[in-house]
Symmetry: C2
Subunit: 423 residues, 2 copies
């Protein structure tokens, strides 16, 4: 352990030193680096795809499934998409130096809150190599240093991408230690990094629940968690059923593998007899398998819609595929109780024409995004207008919901006076 710890400490110390330079970098410098990184990614497409082919061959040989291979795979069009994402981030507003509030005290002191970078951000992620350039670009734009600890299965791909980062930074006169791929992908090195309180200012784990729990349990550095999304859509008695159908289908079936997809449909018992068969039929038409509560099963069977009885474990479950749990609830009260018990504080939606129901739902539901009459799929940095995101926080501390460049900053107080002293 101690050699690994020393090696990781040295990486983090260099990152910390670079973070002082990055905090003072101008917007122009940072944008020049981002433009150069995009150019370097394009220029290196062949090299990156070749490195990725080696990672892919190993993954295939070790029997990884199709979904895994698809997350890992890079082709020229995906490299182009990575370059475009970096350019997009270059175009975002620089959050550093932004004055978010200011006021004057009775004694004449002028107080303002000013955004500054967090410092060194450790990204821990699994197989998607595009996270390497996305996360580095978001950190760079916000004046932070990115320590990138990708999965071993993507190491050659990540290294080829990190070369582009390094060249982009140095050609803009910024330290190459500002975006560093951790050279050691062992679990031991991850554990070592997680102990470096004082050198690493924030850790953002991205990946499966197992990885995130491991990080949360072992970290001595601050962690913002991005856990699973067990998202509900509640179709209230006063819902427009045509709208409800559109929203439910979009929330479940437009991209079932992502965290803002609907996992459970709640239907108000007051309209269950008509709404349930219609909504269920629409989901089934999109190849969704339904797992219903007792009332749901009774109603759907008599309407001839295929459904299987839900097990208790189907509620509160993140399926991430074309499966949905369905439950009939006794009105708004029942929906609030179900969500409080089974929700994951990620995204919760209501479909209703009632102003009172919407108000109560938005006030009482605790989730990073509470949605009225729209799809859960909008809980996303791009869709909500934050630009790109490093992830969606489901912990309330520091950031709750999509984390863009502003969420990668802190705020300091700047106090200006003309000689004031405290009485």
């Amino acid at each position: 352990m101690s050699t690994t710890l020393e090696a990781m400490r040295e990486v983090a110390q260099r990152a910390k030193a670079a973070s002082r330079v990055m905090a003072a970098a101008t917007t122009e410098q940072k944008n020049r680096a981002l433009q150069r990184i995009a150019a370097e990614l394009r220029a290196r497409t062949v090299v990156i795809v070749a490195a990725n082919a080696l990672d892919l061959a190993d993954a295939k040989a070790s029997g990884k499934n199709e979904a895994f291979l698809d997350r890992l795979m890079l082709d020229p069009s995906r490299v182009e998409a990575m370059a475009k994402a970096v350019e997009f981030i270059a175009g975002l507003e620089d959050p550093i130096g932004e004055v978010t509030e200011s006021w004057r005290r009775p004694n004449g002191l002028e107080v303002r809150k000013v955004r500054l970078p967090l410092g060194v951000v450790l990204m821990i992620y699994e197989s998607r190599p595009n996270v390497t350039s996305d996360a580095a670009a978001l950190c760079l734009k916000s004046g932070n240093v990115a320590l990138l600890r990708g999965g071993s299965e993507a190491f050659r791909s990540n290294r080829a991408i990190a070369d582009a980062l390094m060249h982009g930074l140095s050609s803009a006169g910024l330290p190459t230690d500002a975006a560093v791929l951790v050279p050691d992908t062992s679990r031991e090195s991850m554990l070592a990094l997680l102990t470096l309180d004082g050198l690493i200012d924030l850790c953002i784990p991205r990946g499966g629940e197992g990885l995130i729990r491991f990080v949360a349990e072992n970290a001595r550095v601050p962690v913002v968690k991005h856990y699973q999304g067990v998202c509900h859509v509640f179709v209230h008695a006063a819902a427009d059923l045509e709208m409800a159908e559109r929203i439910v289908v979009n929330a479940k079936a437009s991209r079932p593998g992502v965290c803002n997809a609907m996992e459970c449909l709640l239907v108000d018992e007051a309209i269950a007899a008509t709404a349930l068969p219609r909504l269920a039929q629409a989901l089934v038409a999109k190849q969704v398998e339904l797992r219903g509560c007792e009332k749901t099963v009774a109603a759907l069977r008599s309407a001839g819609v295929p459904v299987t009885p839900a097990a208790e474990a189907d509620f509160g479950k993140e399926f991430l595929e074309l499966i949905a749990a369905v439950k009939v609830v006794p009105g708004l009260e029942g929906a609030l109780a179900h969500i409080a018990r089974y929700g994951s504080e990620h995204t919760e939606a209501i479909v209703t024409g009632s102003r009172d129901a919407a108000r109560r739902f938005t006030r009482e539901v605790c989730a990073s995004a509470v949605v009225v009459n729209a799809s859960t799929r909008f809980n996303d940095g791009g869709e909500l207008g934050l630009g790109a995101e490093v992830g969606i926080s489901t912990s309330r501390l520091h950031a709750f919901g999509p984390m863009g460049v502003r969420e990668l900053t802190a705020q300091k107080f700047v106090v200006e006076g003309d000689g004031q002293v405290r009485g």
Copy 2:
């Protein structure tokens, strides 16, 4: 361990259940509870002071020093001050439900960010019993539940204060589990509480560095740290010396035992010959012991001002008494380098008439408060206009600087549409 863990889990589970009720409590209900708590504190003055006398007697018997006894001691006027503080907090604006930003997306979705409570806040603190009512009141006002884990030396005092909290809450129809004194003050129970991720949303340790490090190293729950303040005042070449003298004396000597007091004076070498003797003399007149760098010692001895040579350990040290380190630095650049190396990111001040120097200092110094031409002592929730504070965060995550009721909240996204789905 397992019985303690189970007992602490049960306390935290009740707190979590109460946090749902508190999140929905109205401003009026919360204020009524706070007014009742203030009244209960006043009505129980004799009981509280009597309980405190027992704590004090034990502390004396175990040989605690005067400063410790003073922190622990309650008399009727201190109880009155506690009641007044609770009333003051009742008068603050309720942060819950505040819309901090709102915008409309091109597709017509309306997005707003709305403040909600963090949930369950665990306060870990040492001997000052007033923290029990102060922290509970700040948590209550911000819709949070306070788990109060005070020191064993103040347990009887804290219990008497907690009785007032309980009665105040119940007479306003709020759950008594919303402000709970942890009944077990063992280290084992503290460790158990620190593992309850998912039940405790934030831990705020207040006290000596040892306690804070212990919490940071052992916590599985999020911690906002309130470390020491190693605060500098840099007197720049372009400073008004009369102003500098006033600020330096106030920063060091007005209350040397607090975290926003100056610990180290930095003097620009360009004006050292005149400024140093004048500032040093003013400090010495206030009984401050000076520990100087080589140049300081040479200059002060020839001016006949008493000074001892500083050891390396005197720089970066939090004296918390009438001692100050003094260093001559080569201009702004030298001050920035010294602060980056020895500062604690708490409070840093410059005295200067130069706009350029002030701009660079405020931009480049990383500290929760960066002060120009005023005393470091203004880094305080009340002085900066935040109302009361639970402490001053020196970590950049979630909050940096004084934490008032707004810093005890998170923000969720509320998204309203009229049937939008994602393409």
